[in-house]
């Protein structure tokens, strides 16, 4: 978009300008929008930010960047997750009310956090795909979907394993649980929709629209325990309030959440790298097949000509 702006700014410069050096025979119309289009300083920040948005649109640049970042993400994710899970399972104190069963929290809450933030990433990739036609956004959305669905599924399963000893039921149609189930179905719907069309572009576009529509579920999940009287407990952590969880339980929770987040990012990056390489292989093989077909046709023509002569 920035490039388009610059090009049209160049076209809008009147012919009397010293840049052209000659006068057009036709009279130049008075355009009120000429002044802001000519002045580059006003549009320079948007040009820079536009370039920043499209910085990783180049697959080669993305491959180099992700190749450098991926080992750090994977190592950090493994170490932090291991430390957090071990701390939560063996060192952190049991809850005064729920006892040892509260240790399931160190799996349940990080997976919920990853499922929600993963859906934010899916929606951002979908927006980039629909607005800027970002070349990697469709691939990123397609690769985020299955991993996010796994995180949402893990959250539901661990929540169910926590609910059975605490509530006496594997599942209740509580607002928090139901809205989280809707998120899981949104992920599944996105996975199915992306692969439902013969033409991949149509599938990606339909999936992007679904992902953007589904983002309304995120505030519902977060505020469900506030808006409705739910069996699920209220939020223990908030951006603008002090945590209601004891500090010796908070640290392993935060460490596991950070580890899961880094692990999620590493898995998505690895899948995305693989998808880019697979696409490059497919295009190389297609180009090779087309070249082979052309050379076969080119070789056939003289033979026919010689035979005819």
């Amino acid at each position: 978009m920035a490039r388009v702006g610059l090009v049209s700014a160049g076209n809008l410069i009147p012919p009397e300008s010293p840049r052209h050096g000659f006068k057009l025979p036709v009279p130049w119309p008075k355009l009120p929008a000429v002044e802001p289009a000519i002045a580059p300083p006003a549009s320079a920040p948007s040009v820079r930010s536009g370039r920043r948005v499209h910085l990783f649109a180049n697959p080669g640049r993305f491959l180099r960047f992700s190749g450098r970042v991926l080992p750090w993400l994977a190592t950090g994710g493994i170490i932090l997750s291991a430390v957090g899970l071990f701390w939560g399972a063996f060192i952190a104190p049991p809850d005064w009310q729920q006892g040892e069963a509260a240790r399931i929290m160190y799996v349940h809450v990080p997976s919920a956090w990853v499922a929600l933030s993963g859906y934010c990433a899916l929606a951002a990739a979908s927006a980039a795909s629909l607005i800027w036609r970002h070349p990697l956004a469709d691939l990123a959305a397609a690769e985020i979907g299955p991993v996010g669905a796994a995180a949402a599924g893990l959250c539901l399963v661990s929540g169910s394993l926590w609910g059975k000893p605490m509530w006496g039921a594997w599942w209740v149609w509580d607002a928090r649980l139901t809205s989280m189930l809707v998120l899981f179905f949104l992920y599944l719907g996105h996975i199915a929709l992306v692969r439902a069309f013969d033409e991949p572009t149509r599938g990606h576009r339909a999936g992007a629209i679904l992902a953007l529509m589904g983002i309304v579920d995120l505030p519902i999940i977060h505020f469900s325990v506030v808006w409705w009287n739910t069996l699920h407990q209220g939020n223990s952590l908030g951006l603008f309030s002090a945590p209601t969880i004891y500090i010796s339980m908070l640290w392993p929770l935060l460490i596991t959440a950070l580890g899961y987040s880094l692990g999620f990012a590493a898995i998505v990056l690895a899948r995305l790298r693989a998808a880019i390489l697979e696409r490059r292989i497919a295009s190389l093989l297609t180009a090779r097949a087309v070249d082979g077909g052309k050379s076969a046709q080119g070789a056939a023509v003289p033979v026919v000509g010689v035979g005819a002569g």
Binding site: G60, L63, R64, G67, A74, S81, L85, A89, G99, E100, A101, R103, I104, Y106, V107, H108, S111, P146, V147, A150, G153, L154, V157, S158, L161, W162, K164, P165, Y260, G263, F264, A266, I267, A270, R271, R273, A274, L277, E278, R280, I281, L284, L285, R288
Partner: protein
């Protein structure tokens, strides 16, 4: 009530599900790199 089976199952799922996804992603990436190296000679010299 004995909570241990529930805790064990939850932790097993919390470790095995991400590990399975990580292993699958790593295997897929390695396979793609090997195939690309076989198809494109430039890939062998490193990207």
């Amino acid at each position: 009530m004995n909570f241990l089976p529930f805790i064990t199952l939850a932790y097993a799922a919390g470790v095995l599900v991400p590990a399975a996804f990580a292993l699958a992603a790593w295997t897929r990436l390695r396979r793609a790199e090997r195939r690309l190296a076989a198809v494109d000679p430039r890939a062998r010299r490193g990207r």
